[in-house]
Point group: C2
Amino acid sequence: METGHMPWEKNFDHNSVLDRAMMLFWERGYRGVSMADLVEELGINRSSLYSTFGQKEDLFVQALVRYDTTHRQGWLDDLARRSDPVDSIRQVFAEVAAAPEATRRLGCLLVNTTLEFPAKSPRSAALVRQAFLSTQQFFEEQLLRARQADQLDPAIDVAGLATALLALFLGMRVLARAERPPETIQPILRQVDILLRGADLGTGSIAEW
Amino acid sequence: METGHMPWEKNFDHNSVLDRAMMLFWERGYRGVSMADLVEELGINRSSLYSTFGQKEDLFVQALVRYDTTHRQGWLDDLARRSDPVDSIRQVFAEVAAAPEATRRLGCLLVNTTLEFPAKSPRSAALVRQAFLSTQQFFEEQLLRARQADQLDPAIDVAGLATALLALFLGMRVLARAERPPETIQPILRQVDILLRGADLGTGSIAEW
DNA sequence: ATGGGTTTGGAACGATCGTTCTATAGTATC
DNA sequence: GATACTATAGAACGATCGTTCCAAACCCAT
């Protein structure tokens, strides 16, 4: 059969296969990808797929976890590391809005999953819930850091704004998945700025987009 | 067979059957409802189902249209008729947040559809796109009416704010579908108020929630 | 050279999918 | 009362679903 590897090690890279599976679920949704599709497009054998990743739902959960750690958590961590607290928040929206059409149209796997699963997979639901909470906490932490650095109107309700930012972010992802031209999403960025500036503060301390 | 009706008239009500089909799709998604489910839960015969509503996707599109006209357009029209322009906008968010758990958890069929369908059904995609646009226009119209009634800071970017409100609304529906306790959604209402109040206007002309 | 352990290829499983088809029940018209 | 027409009931279709199973291929250890 000519595999050219040790019989106890797989002849495919675990994470790269998982990444491709994640991509397929991202594009077509859980129910839109069949096991036959996975076997074909991952270039991995049916038996290997089951022996390494378990059932379809198991595989999906693993793909979802991987998405969460790399595309969400990793992304947010990068933003927080690279930018000011206020700018890191603005970057979240800016990067989604500025993403190339193909990427933007995928939306967010976590959001897509929420709306596709009708309480069927408790693990997925819990994962998504936790991811949303974590994103909200990201916003809240950045706002707190901004406040401490005097970059934020002290009158701002940090927790409340963090929730609204989360909702704006999720809504942006929905709009991106619908076939909206990018320029119709752009105005959201300015409204984020207004919220960050505070209700009654006409400050110029925040740089332009 | 004892049907007790004229052979040329159906023995079920078209719209009430369509409503129940819509409800099923709303709860479980397009792919989550099989034709067998529909036959069983609608109490209508398989053949009747096909002869009156066509194929599954046809039925879904009809259910989607019905949802759009009754639950979205009709709802928004009611709000606009019953309230001040500004209040009608606030009511949109207030009613979603205040809806009973069971209703809130359904989210919005149009939003759910967006994320479930990966460009598979062009009709559904077009419908959703149009519905989102119409909702955005609702916000914009109310804002314009508010401006004409001097209830709105003239400096506000009406079109931009309408887009942001749409995103906030969609995000709220996503959060509602995830298993969030209602009090975690509530803060969004205050942020909507802040946006409606304008970036640099500390007015008290807007009533409390 | 042989045997153990593991991946691989691909057939095959029952269940369910959306859809079609045939036979029957029922009421009008002629 | 025979005929035409339509809704109903339910069997049946092929296709595809997720999953399981088995034999062949492979490399190491002995």
